[in-house]
Amino acid sequence: MGLRVAGLRATVENTEILRGIDLVVEPGKIHALMGPNGSGKSTLALSLAGHPHYQVTAGSAMLDGASLLDLTPEKRARAGLFLSFQYPAAIPGVKVANFLHAARQAVRPGSLAPAAFRAMLVEKMEILGMDPSFMGRYLNDGFSGGEKKRLEMLQMAMLAPKYAILDETDSGLDVDALRAVGDSIGALRASEEGRQAGMLIITHYPRILKYVTPDVVHVMMDGRIVLTGAHDLAERIEREGYDGIRDEVGARA
């Protein structure tokens, strides 16, 4: 069981970005993946989700025993993987409510009657502090940064994935939005469907970790995970930044 990544290497336009990633996210656990800009965090997220611009050249990625790398992006989603995008695409003309219903049907076919779907939607939107008028708006079209991230969290709550990767979901959010994201993660984990969800929270800054307490913290630099520790590792990064860790890791290497 678990989201198990081993020896994963990936390139973008023939430049190697991931240089051997080993990572296991167990069901029900929260992992934070931290690191400076350009360390390859988003590349890991998009490679696992199957973005066509990223070529995996070596290694494996298994979701509860099934190999993700052989699957199309939609089949990865149906297997229970969810990616909260750093930059969600806008799709004009597609109403949020219709999209959420289509996505829920695609990922968990026939599991929810329309009335139950609507009730669930209302409940999750309340947790996220979203106005009901969101439902009639077009997907991410003209949304502020904070609105886009809330909608990503709403999707996560509605799709109830087995494993969720949150790619810089906290970047650009004010305190209220951060708290809403934290509450949404908490609510997912409190729900029947999401109780066993494993999470990989990718972040540059430790501040979201005030709202979500990770079980494990990883530090990524130059396409590798260079340090893994407990929650106090995030506190150290907050105090010292990444330079101290870089010196330590460099000295060890």
Partner: protein, 397 residues
Amino acid sequence: MPEGVLAPPTRDRLHSAANAGDARILSHAMRSRAVDLYLTNGSGRTRPNRRWKIDLDALAFDPIPGIDAEHEVSFTGSLGRAIALPLATAAREHAETLARITRLVDIERWKFGALAMGLSSFGALVHVPAEYDVAEPIVITYRIGASSAFPRTLVLLEAGARATVIVEFQNAAGSFVVGTSELIVEERAHLHFATAQQVGSDSIALESGVSRVGRDGSIVLASADFGAGLILRDRETSLDAPGARLEQSALFLPTGAGHLDVAATVRHVSGHTASQTVVKAAAGDNAIARFLGNIVILPHAAGSDASLRDDALILSPHAHIDSVPALEIACNDVKAYHGATIGAIDDEQIFYLRSRGLDESEARRTIALGFFEPTVDAFPTAALRESLTQRIVETLR
């Protein structure tokens, strides 16, 4: 194939067809003048490039309309005090009403408008008396056989009247249709006018539409065109008095080797008038789509507010879309907005939807339907919106 289809009609043949037309709809003198102007007026469409294969200035067709049994006009909807009649009947029984509306198309300027007037064979008149609200949509259905037809649709809404008029064309394979829509919206009246058609690869449909809107009147125009044939739509709306408003939308989706050409002009004749134009064009296969948008704000039209938004989606590497917007503003104190996009479906949009479990074809369909949504939404009934959505889905399949 009927005789004469393969070559452009001669002047003599056009005149003999014009002289056979119903003189109560339009006098023979006017018809003769109109077909002469058809021959001398330009189409306003120079061939923009070698992709444009059809020469609109030398179309081949039979000017003799098909016999009555081949073409039909029918009406549904509860009219109350409004009238909706075939044009020939209206010409006999409502000659005065007809006279109020029948000179809207400027035959001196419009090539195909002149042709439609000169050869007009049948059509429909809708007349809504002052302050009357027709609650249900009036649906005009034209069934066109495999021959030439020159239908005219005339709508007159008197002061304070309200109506929704839907025109449906069912054009047979091999049809050649040159028609008009002539709409008058008097002060405080409101008209919602919608039309949809699909034209097959061996068929042609050319429509000239003119509307005039009076003080505090409003008009919503919605059109949707599909198919592998040639469709050309010229539309001109004149906002004649303060408070007049236009909302217009055009959806067009040619496929196969289809040519679809829409030209929309808005004339802000008076100040404190408002217009909004939304165009969504997509082209698949080897098809060509072209939109010519023209906003004209005349010298005394201060306080006018005009917006023009046109977006084009290229669905195939062999398709071609031209978008030619123009703003002619002769007055300082106005608001005018123009925005345009052209491109293919974005890979990031597709990946986003796939990451939510939709497969690639579903993702493409979702994005394309979203693209057209504002123009589908402009249609007045849920049934019509659903059938347009179905047609888009079938076209994209």
